[in-house]
């Protein structure tokens, strides 16, 4: 959970952490802002044969090959309808794109107000979430990008995720 370690270091006001909010299905997620490189509309995604289910494919983003991860599949949601968007992240020198439905605003939240995942959260979701923030009108799950990448690389489909 290395991004949690960044709390306070990156944030301007002591223990606040900035999140880029994204929507996947009905749910609002927050990605730590330092992880997010850019937001783009994925085009011309090439399927990668024999790859894990969570991998949507790869695409060429200004000359870099970006591995696209399908978060809906990781979360066990239905197939997305229509064109989505993607959040570009960097991890150990490699570029990944997280497929999302929509991107929202940037929120600065107090790290202390973060609450643990509720015990009854779907195992697939809990495996990717690093806590919950209560916003004015809804809940925002913090997406642990490292875990997402681990899952995408190792978990072949959902059973493995459920098992955890």
């Amino acid at each position: 959970m290395s991004e949690l370690a960044h709390i306070g270091k990156d944030a301007a006001g002591g223990s606040t952490q900035q999140y880029v909010t994204v929507r996947i299905g009905p749910q609002l997620f927050g990605l730590p802002i330092h992880m997010v490189h850019e937001v783009f509309v994925p085009e011309a995604v090439t399927r990668v044969p024999l790859s894990a289910e969570a991998i949507e494919g790869v695409l060429n983003l200004r000359g870099r090959i970006v591995t696209m991860l399908n978060l809906r599949r990781l979360l066990g949601l239905d197939r997305p309808e229509g064109d989505g968007m993607a959040v570009g992240i960097e991890h150990q020198g490699e570029a990944f794109g997280l497929m999302i439905d929509d991107v929202g605003e940037v929120l600065a939240l107090d790290a202390n107000s973060r609450e643990a995942n509720p015990a009854n959260l779907d195992a697939r979701w809990a495996a990717l979430a690093a806590g919950v923030h209560r916003l004015a009108d809804e809940l925002m799950l913090i997406l642990n990008v490292e875990l997402v990448l681990q899952r995408a690389g190792t978990a072949h489909g959902l059973p493995a995720a459920v098992a955890h």
Binding site: T46, P49, L50, V58, G63, T67
Partner: protein, 927 residues
């Protein structure tokens, strides 16, 4: 670890490698003052650098080595021991360096007193009075700088006393050149100590100052070196230093980044060109063309920065060979040709280990000991030659030795022992094919395991390493003349020519290096796709290639794994060759070839089999690069499955055979009962023109194919037609052909066979069996042949003492078929159903003149029987004749090896009789 230390480590490691090489050269050529000076300089630099950074242990060690080296410069004769000692000192320094790197800059604890003591002892021993220009040791000896600086020196800086020494030496010993060399040597360092580290470093690396300083010393130490000789060398050194001064050190990361950006530029250019093609009269056209050219040149230039001479990978080899030669007590020369041949550094890294391994192998197994070499009439010194050259986009590296060559016989045995191929297959292989097995896992032909090699790992790893970078390795060898390994590797891994193909709507890149040809299979084309069980194969000229579908291998096909119909009549097949495996890959379309820039897969995708990377095409789309090696493995796996299937099918056939399924020709002759003969014994079925029957000496004969053959009626009851035709079976037996007239041919059936011996008084009936619920009499073909031809034979062959035969066949049918024939030919026959029974009878009864045995017996087969029989020395000469359904050469070979005297096909009675006559006849007569 700070940059300073890292820089030091890199630099020193390089120096050490060079020192290794130089020392080995020096050992062979101890009078070469120049080499000595090179080494001295290197060790000296190491000592100096270590001193600066405060690495006391390293500095002390290097100092002791330097002191010894200095003795050589004074003219002390060079001994192997001394060089060995210096080499082990360098090894120790390497160990310390490694520890330093691991610990992030702390010198490991411990002492090098042992080595230093040895070095000092050797330096002190028998001081040579020869030294032409005695250079007082104390001047170099003080390792801790005599003159103290206010601060620690930076790496690359030279301590003051060092400069002073240089200055002194230069001035004193090189009066002629001093004006030129000395100021150059001294002035910059002087400035540098006053904080110009960069300049200082360049100086330290480029031997501008030190080379001329060291050079004349050497010349002086070796009196014969004439001034004339010295002068051009000095220039050479100066030239070399000028070159090195022009080069700078750039981190690999920067180069990689450059490469990526250039690739990017190439792609963008491609896209622009694409747009320009669509707009005919664009004013961009000319500038775009120029952009395109410049981009191409830039790409080439950047590619060149990644190139390194292959000599870098060879650097450690002289030392390795030297050490090996000492360990093994051999004399080995190492020749390097084409060390300047350049190839991509990524490739270089990959082949370093394989090369080392192969050179070790050559030294260990390839080359003989001096005694053996002398005995073989060769020079005592063995030669290992490394050569490298370019050949059309590839670099060829050859490692050859003039040793004993590969032991073909031994590899053959090994291959069989390790179950890599059946004995029969191996027997058919050419030597070249056999040699390839040395690249198989688990095949080491070394008679004994040495600490150098021979542990059964190695060549397979070599092969996989080389194949991993798209290279190939092969071996040539001639007994007594040595062997040559030829490695063919691509120049670079970053850009490869690839064939772009389409499968299931996706495009893929197939590296061109693996593509042999493209084949279009259409109805009516020369090539066809055939199905063997469920496995499709391509009949291409004289070869059968397994084919796989790219789409289904990559899991893209929607309609299941195989397309039993689709691929067969109209298919596009890319024939790939990977290693020794050639196979076809079915694709939907082939578009074009393109130089693609290989981009590594992200870590999340790296484990995917059959995909080795990705690339971006001109239209900006990412496509996968298919790994031919992975495809080959999958193809092999599928083939194995198919083989499994076909083996199962074989198994079924075998089971059927063991259930005595026999093809019988059913007919009627006389009575309503069905009669039968084994179909295998029937040569032809004919319609006999009754009118054509003639009589010779009262026997009916007909003209059949230009010869007169006897005709018999199956029995008394067979209708003797007056006219028209009547069915006739033709039997052939050793050139003797006869016709058997019957009433009606009914059918040919394949049926399980259970022969009931009939107590019938009819000699022509062998017995009865049930076919399709009907009792059927089996007629004895042998009887008829004997009747037609045999009476005389039988009479002749009935000597007073008949030869005794032991007939072994698990099938009662065959026993019953053969026994009468053999009896008819005058042998006394004892039949047994198994090999064990046969052996028992042989023990109990004895006195057999020959054994006639089926090869396929349950439990213990004919080969085992033959071996068992032969194991008794008294039966070494007992003829054993094998009966086998198949008569392929391999089985015959194997049979002979097991001890069979002769081999006869199962239904070849005349062959059997002939064999018996040949082998058992004499026996019989003798007995």
């Amino acid at each position: 670890m700070d940059d300073l230390l890292r820089e030091f480590l890199t630099e020193t490691n390089e120096s050490l490698d060079v020192a290794d090489v130089e020392l080995v050269k020096f050992e062979q050529d101890p009078n070469n003052a120049e080499i000595l000076n090179n080494i001295f300089r290197l060790v000296h630099t190491i000592k100096g650098t270590c001193g600066f950074i405060g690495l006391a242990r390293l500095a002390a060690l290097a100092h002791a080595a330097e002191t010894l080296m200095d003795k050589f410069r004074e003219g002390r004769p060079v001994t192997t021991d001394a060089v060995g000692l210096v080499l082990s000192t360098i090894d120790r320094i390497k160990v310390l360096m490694a520890a330093l790197e691991d610990s992030g800059g702390r010198e490991p604890d411990g002492s090098d007193r042992d080595l230093i003591a040895l070095l000092e002892a050797m330096a002190a021993a028998e001081p040579e009075p020869v030294a032409a220009l005695p250079e007082p040791e104390p001047e170099i000896a003080p390792a801790p700088p005599a003159q103290q600086l206010e601060r620690d020196l930076l790496p690359g800086e030279i301590p003051l006393d060092e400069l002073e020494r240089l200055f002194r030496e230069t001035e004193v010993e090189l009066p002629a050149r001093a004006p030129v060399a000395a100021p150059a040597a001294v002035a910059p360092p002087a400035a540098k100590v006053l904080d110009l580290p960069a300049a200082g470093k360049a100086l330290d690396k480029a031997p501008v100052g030190k080379a001329p300083a060291g050079k004349p010393q050497g010349a002086a130490a070796v009196p014969p070196a004439s001034p004339k000789e010295g002068a051009p060398r000095g220039e050479e050194v100066a030239h070399a230093s000028a070159i090195s001064a022009q080069s700078i050190r750039v981190s690999v990361g920067v180069l990689e980044q450059l490469m990526t950006m250039v690739s990017e530029l190439v792609l963008t250019r491609n896209q622009l060109m694409e747009i320009a093609r669509r707009h005919e009269n664009s004013e961009y056209k000319v500038p775009l063309q120029r952009l395109s050219n410049v981009t191409g040149e830039l790409q080439d230039a950047v590619m060149r920065t990644r190139m390194q001479p292959i000599g870098n990978a060879w650097q450690k080899l002289p030392r390795i060979v030297r050490d090996l030669a000492q360990d093994l007590g051999k004399l080995i020369d190492l020749e390097q040709i084409g060390a300047e041949t350049e190839l991509d550094r990524q490739v270089l890294d990959q082949i370093k280990d394989p090369l080392t391994h192969m050179v070790r192998n050559s030294a260990d197994h390839g080359l003989e000991s001096p005694d053996e070499r002398r005995a073989a009439g060769k020079s005592e010194r063995g030669l290992i030659r490394l050569s490298a050259y370019h050949e059309g986009g590839h670099v060829i590296v050859e490692i050859s030795d003039d040793g004993r060559g590969l032991n073909v016989a031994r590899i053959r045995t090994k291959v069989i022992e390790n179950g890599l191929a059946a004995e029969a297959e191996v027997a058919k292989m050419s030597d070249a094919q056999v040699f390839r097995y040395i690249f198989h896992a688990g095949l080491s032909t070394a008679e004994k395991v040495t600490n150098v090699s021979g542990r059964g790992v190695g060549m397979d790893v070599v092969r996989s390493n080389i194949e991993a970078i798209g290279g190939t390795v092969e071996v040539r060898s001639r007994a007594g003349q040595g062997s040559t390994f030829i490695i063919k590797i691509p120049l670079t891994l970053a850009i490869v020519p690839a064939l772009i193909v389409r499968a299931e709507g996706e495009r893929f890149a197939l590296p061109q290096s693996a593509v042999v040809e493209l084949v279009r299979v259409q109805p009516g084309s020369d090539h066809a796709v055939k199905w063997l069980n469920d496995a499709p194969v391509l009949c291409l000229r004289d070869k059968l290639l397994p084919i796989v579908s790219l789409g289904s291998l990559l899991g893209l096909s929607t309609g299941g794994a195989a397309r039993p119909t689709g691929g067969s009549d109209d298919a596009l097949i890319v024939v790939l060759k990977v290693g020794h495996q050639t196979f076809g890959v079915v694709v939907d379309a082939v578009s074009h070839t393109e130089e693609i820039v290989v981009k590594p897969m992200s870590s999340a995708l790296r484990q995917i089999p059959m995909v080795s990377g990705s690339t971006i095409l001109g239209d900006g789309r990412v496509i996968m690069i298919v790994d031919p090696g992975g495809l080959a493995q999958s193809a092999a796996a599928r083939a194995a499955e198919a083989e499994e299937d076909s083996r199962a099918a074989h198994e079924e056939v075998r089971r059927a055979v063991s259930e005595e399924r026999t093809s019988l020709l059913l007919f009627r002759a006389g009575s309503r009962n069905l009669k039968a003969v084994p179909l295998a014994l029937v040569t032809r079925l004919e319609e006999l023109e009754v009118a054509s029957i003639e009589r010779v000496k009262g026997y009916p004969v007909i003209q059949y194919r230009g010869a007169l053959i006897p005709v018999l009626y199956a029995n008394e009851e067979v209708r003797r037609a007056e006219s028209g035709t009547q069915p006739m079976l033709v039997f052939s037996d050793d050139g003797r052909t006869m016709g058997l007239v019957v009433d009606e041919i009914v059918d040919i059936v394949e049926t399980p066979f259970d022969l009931q011996l009939s107590p019938s008084n009819m000699p022509e009936v062998l017995g009865a069996t049930v076919v399709s619920g009907q009792a059927t009499e089996l007629l004895d073909v042998g009887f008829y042949i004997n009747v037609a031809f045999g009476e005389r034979f039988v009479q002749m062959l009935r000597p007073a003492a008949r030869a005794r035969l032991l007939l072994v066949d698990d099938s009662s049918f065959h026993r019953d078929m053969l026994a009468p024939v053999l009896k008819g030919n005058g042998y006394e026959v004892t039949a047994c159903a198994s090999a064990r029974e046969a052996l028992e009878r042989l023990e109990d009864e004895g006195g057999f003149d020959a054994i006639v045995s089926d090869v396929e017996l349950p439990d213990m087969d004919g080969f085992a029987l033959a071996s068992a029989v032969r194991s008794n020395p008294r039966r070494q000469n007992l003829p054993i004749i094998a009966l086998s359904a198949g008569r392929d050469r391999d089985a015959i070979e194997r049979g002979r090896a097991a001890g069979f005297t002769d081999y006869v096909a199962k239904f070849d009675r005349s062959g059997l009789i002939a064999a018996l006559k040949e082998f058992a006849g004499h026996q019989g007569a003798a007995a």
